[in-house]
Symmetry: C2
Subunit: 365 residues, 2 copies
């Protein structure tokens, strides 16, 4: 049997509470289904800084590199707002993405029928929404050099970041988007700012070439990223798969998440290239939401995004498609039963805490 080594990095804020529900689920799967998951844990973010002065230790990076998949909670909080830039909580996440070469970030924005009414958008605009944002995750302005603040004297400083993309990076991320589109509605929309950015010109060119050479059967559209943001708000159902760069992907996927009325529900997967021999991809799964320090420790956080991230893990890292489907159905069923954590509460529904929500999902699984 193939190994199933999971590294759990719960992080800060509500991360540990949400992760606790996934741990229960994993135990249940091991006990009842003999799933054979082996888990290890590590520190990332503010808690890692407190423990050893870095947002993640080299030892935990080694564990992440060796694991079959990493489950990641959330990082950050006011406690670490003033720590030096290089060791800020986010640096742990960024280092994981870079060292593991997780270039493909998959962010589904799905509107659960039970929650369609709770979006700030009109119900008919978001009901049945199912789009997938494929965000490039290891390039662009996040990692380009130079990245620095220069003291110019006279009280003047200069802040510099570099947006840089190479052909191969655009090729591989668009390949992922086209492949995934084939399993969905066969439609990819690529977004950039080619009217202003040279990296956008190259992005557009390489996506077009990749399409022509290998994926001509998929419908491809190009949209300027600002217009794309507008269209997401106007009529999001026009999209199937959106492929875009690291920074635009950050903005656009957060907006897409908010459309669904339930950012506490949305999972993400970050994948590397398949290993030449084993064909396995390095992978990290994390909720789209942050560490929500204001509600941490109160037992009221919504664990669904974390549980749904584990469903993506089952699907993409372990090929456990039936189990992933069942877990996603269990989430939908619990929502249909009217159970709600505080963040998604609406009239006539039953408010539950983090643990109860986790238990209810496990019971339906």
């Amino acid at each position: 049997m193939a190994s199933k080594n999971l590294l759990l990095l719960a992080g800060d804020g509500i991360g540990p509470e949400a992760m606790a529900e996934v741990k229960k689920l994993i135990s249940a799967m091991n006990d009842k289904l003999g799933s054979g998951f082996v888990t290890d844990e590590g520190l990332v973010g503010g808690c890692a800084y407190d423990a050893h002065g870095a947002a993640i230790s080299d030892a935990d990076i080694d564990k992440a590199m060796a694991a079959d998949a990493v489950l990641f909670g959330a990082v950050g909080g006011p406690k670490w707002d003033a720590v030096p830039y290089e060791v800020r909580p986010e640096a742990g996440l960024l280092r994981l993405r870079k060292d593991m070469e997780l270039f493909a970030n998959l962010r589904p924005a799905i509107c659960y029928p039970a929650l369609a009414a709770s979006s700030s958008l009109k119900q008919d605009v978001v009901e049945g929404l199912d789009i997938l944002i494929v965000r490039e995750l290891t390039g662009g302005v996040y990692f380009g050099e130079p990245k620095q603040i220069i003291d110019l004297g006279n009280g003047q400083k200069r802040g510099i970041d570099t947006q840089v993309y190479d052909t191969f990076e655009i090729e591989r991320i668009s390949g992922v988007a086209f492949e995934l589109a084939r399993t969905r509605k066969n439609h990819v929309t690529s977004m950039e700012k080619r009217n202003v950015m040279k990296s956008g010109v190259l992005w557009n060119e390489v996506v077009t070439q990749t399409h022509k050479a290998r994926y001509a059967d998929v419908k491809l559209d190009h949209m300027l990223a600002d217009a794309g943001g507008m269209q997401l708000v106007r009529w999001p159902k026009q999209f199937d798969v959106i492929v875009t760069d690291n920074l635009f992907g950050d903005m656009l996927s957060d907006i897409a998440a908010m459309l669904t009325g339930s950012i506490g529900m949305l999972p993400s997967a970050s994948l590397g290239a398949p290993d030449a021999k084993t064909k396995k991809r390095k992978a990290l799964y994390e909720p789209v939401h942050g560490s929500a320090p204001d509600i941490a420790g109160k037992g009221i956080a919504n664990p669904i995004a974390m549980i749904a991230s584990f469903a993506m893990c089952l699907r993409y890292s372990f090929g456990m498609v039936a189990e992933a489907d069942r877990l996603e159905s269990a989430i939908a069923a619990v929502l249909d039963d009217g159970l709600r954590t505080k963040d998604i509460l609406s009239e006539g529904m039953t408010e539950v805490g983090t643990t109860q929500m986790g238990d209810a999902i496990i019971a339906k699984f």
Copy 2:
């Protein structure tokens, strides 16, 4: 009497149709109120490229530099999709912004009561919305160098753009935001990605210092730009003035515009620094919408954004506050009467064309 020289750059697509309505309005003001506007015209965008192979001629740049204000329509269209990057239609607009040093882009997102129902957002989320996005317009990734595509050989290219901000640029744009906030709800939200970008770290630092030194009476919040985009979609009324950089401003202002359900309605002003002697600011006014080539020439385009841009011009360039107020009221009155162009049509309303809409507004003015 101070001079009132206007340069009209109608541009491409629906630009000329929308501008025609403003021309009628200017004539009416000159005839009936003796307003004394003197207008000149020039070419920008695709039509300028067709005429002399550049997106704007040096002669028209000189005219823009000399004018008291520039009214700008829209640029671009499929006809020019394949022209070289340096002479693409947008290059004309970008050169105007840079040469005129129009660093402050003011983009109000106002939800007209008559249109609240036509937003894709729920009515209570957008009704009464009145936010102002102050976007830095002459710096950042739009103009930073290096900006190029390098051929690396082996079929690999590298696209590079540079995000760069100096202290003085952040200081002056935040000054504009704080000043404007004082005339509104006295609340500024600054948005950047300081958790990823060094320019964001500097942005945050300089906005904070400027606030402390000169505008401590204004309420200041900081938000990460991705979270800011989400919050715009979730509950936009939490904002008053948003100040942000060129690229984030591009994305966020388009999203804010879409919230109002009426991108065809929204104006913008781009302002330079006050001249040391005359105190006059160079200024360009333009609709937030694009050139909409698909409906150009059909007489159905919505001229309201262009007319509202002229209202901003009256207000900011000529201190004609009463006239600006009256013009804005005329727009609201015509909407209250049920007149709608196709883009904002809803049941029970009266569909009108570009000319009729312009005439109706002039009649109410």
